[in-house]
Each structure stands twice: as C-alpha cells, then as structure tokens.
Amino acid sequence: MKLSKTYSENSILDDIKAGGSQLNKALGFMYSSYYGLLESIILKNSGNEDDAADVIQDTFLAFVKMVQDGRFRKEAGVKSMLYSIVRNLWITEIRKRKSTQNRHEIFEQGNDVEVEGVSVEIEKIENQKLILSLFESIGKKCKSILISFYYENLSMKDIMEKEDFSSEQVLRNKKYKCLKSLIEKVNGNVILAKSVKNALQND
C-alpha cells in the first residue's frame, strides 16, 4: 500500500471514523509512520519486540475506539496521543509485572510525558480488555459469525456462504445461540459485568 506523506490528521481521523477499508488505510499510515517510535519506547524501557507488538496493538485499539467514540481532542495530536498511550500502557504493564528495577528506570526522570486525559483512557482500556476476554472465550465459529454480522455488517446470505451453512435459517439459529452464549458469559461474570456496565454508563 503506497501511503502519502501528506496524509493530514483530519483525514486520518475521518478514515478511522468511517471504519472498514478506510480504517485500514489510516491504520496502515499510522503503523508505517509511528510504529518505530512507539516500539522504541518499549525497547528502551526493558521491553522486547513481542512486548512492543502487544502494547502497540492495544494502543491502536484504544486510540481507534477513542476516535470512533468521539473522545479524542484534535489539539492533542495523533502522534502525541499514541506516544502517551503506549508509554502509560507500558508503565501499567510494568507495574503489573511488579518489576521494581524496571519501575525505577522508567520513573528515573521523575515525571511522565502524559497527554491530558490519558489516565482516564487507560482505565477504559482495562475495561475493554475485560470485555474482550469475554468475547475471546466463546468458540471460534461463534466469534467469526458474530463479527461478520455485527462488525463487518455482512448480510446473512454472505455469512452463510462464508461460513458454509446449508440455509439461512440454520445460520440464524446458530447466530442467536452464539449471542445467547455470550450474554450468559457476561451475566456469569457478575463483577465483570458490573465493572463494564459502569464503564459503559460513564461513557
């Protein structure tokens, strides 16, 4: 994919909001422009390339949600926001790993580079991870059907062909079983459900 260096911030944000193939275009640009910088934050603070890949993926997930939900303030700048989210996510990860040495190194300078509002976003990211873990726990087939229907907005006919179902009715039944199973998982995690529900209500 050939990407223009003059891809403006407004175009990036518009493409993220549009989703689909336009989101891919914006992601492609951000990956080629900022991945190296974001990776270096992890690498210079005791992380390895795998850590960087995980944190950067979470960062883009959080950033895209932030833009799509209308919580991104343009004046913060895309690069500044990504930089700040990665740094804060990595600090959170280090805290989780309880590595005193790493923590010392990362706070050596006595301050964090933090774009305003990022700490609130970090809380949201933690909630997103909880929600995602519920979804990840249902079967592969169910995940594929639900994503095709709710995220990719494919028609039942297209999903039927993609997932190799004999009829639309069989697919429809399967889809509701999958959704029901997911709802039951959410319901079964009382604390999780409460925490997520509060997070959604606070949006």
Binding site: L27, Y31, S40, Q109, N111, I131, F135, V186
Partner: protein
Amino acid sequence: MIDDKNITRLDAYLDNKLSEEEKNLLLQELKENAALNELLELLKISRESIELGGLKNQIQSVQKEYLKIRATQVVKIKPSTWWIGVAASISLFILIGNFWIQKLPSQLIEDNYISYEISTMRSSEIPLSVLENDFKNKAWTSILSAVPQNSENQSEVFLAGIAAYELGDFESAIEYLERVIQLNQDLSDRYFHDEAEYYLSLSLLKLEKYDNALVLFEKINLDENHIYHGIFTNSDLLKLKVLTWVKN
C-alpha cells in the same frame, strides 16, 4: 429472562429495526420490567465485546502485514545499499532547490513536535496548583512571570522554557532549557533533562542554529535511554545535515 424471543426483540431495538408500535411496546415493558432492562444492558455489553473483537482482528491483520513488510525490508537493505541510498538522497536534496530547503526547518519541527502536557509536577517551590493550572490554561505569560529569574528548580525553569517556546520567544526558551540542563549537571536528581534537550533541539531549529540542533538530534538518537529516543528518524538527521551544510 435470557430467552431467544427477548434477545431478538432487544437486538432489533438496538438496530432500530422495530416498527414504531413494537418499539413503544418494548419501551413500556422496559420501564416496568427490571429483568428486561438487565438483559438490555447485558446485550449492550455483549455487542460491545463483539465490536472490540472485530476491531482487534482488523488491527491485528494490519499489524501483521506491517511487521511482515518491515522484516522483508530489513533483510533486503544491505549496508552498501543503504549508503548508496544515502548518497543518492544527498544528491537529490542538492537538486531539489531552494524552495524545498526553505520549507525543511518547519517540516522537521512539524513532523517531530510532541506537545508537552503536564502530569504530576514534583518538588516545585511555587504552589503546584498555580503552575499546573497556568500550564493547563496555556497562560504562558503568567508562567514566565511566576518563575523567578534565578530559580534553581528544574521543574519551574523547564515550564518557563516551554512557555517561552509556546510564545514564540525561542531565544528565551533556549536560555531556560539550557539552564535546566546546567542545573541537572550539579544535581543528582536529573529532572526534566531529556525533555529540556528535546525542546531545546526544536528551539535551536526554530532559530536556524542547525549545528547545535544537530548535536542534540544525534545525541537523542544515539541514547537508547533517552525519553525521546527514536523520535528523530535517520531521514530527519539527514535533512538537518543538509540544512547545516547549506547554511555553512
């Protein structure tokens, strides 16, 4: 309450696919039926999880593709090729002309500028809230008035440096930021050192002091422990070298 019929109705409601009559009936039921309300919340969370799952998949596949291409490029670029590329780039820069050269400094700053946002200030002699609020409110003049000329507090002097930068007074910004670096030399706690070097490099660039800016660009780029390490690309360094060469 978790039955197919209610799930179907609520799902259609969230998709705005109910007729006006069905919708009004459901809204009435939701008012009176706590369990149905609970199911609606559960459904919203479930749909949110599906959306996140889909988004994660999409991001994952872009990331996978990017890393695959990057790995190929790293393998392909041999040292000799790299230098040929640099030499070719230098030749190209020379040919591009005056207009492009004039745009370079502002482009370098635009590409690499990360605004400083205050988080937690420590060990400030001025009450924290005053500086913090002034900074958040972009009251740059107030910050400059509040910080004494002879302050030996790195945090304060750094913020004054940023305030001067934001006001476009790059001479003063350089003075403040150099002072932060100087103060750190005499102290064991090196606060705001990396930040001062980063914004100093940009201030120097603004004043076309390319030689000095280049020293800092290279330092930041070489020091893997620098907070801003990785922010300047090899291409940025090359551009700055061209500016230095043209100016001299």
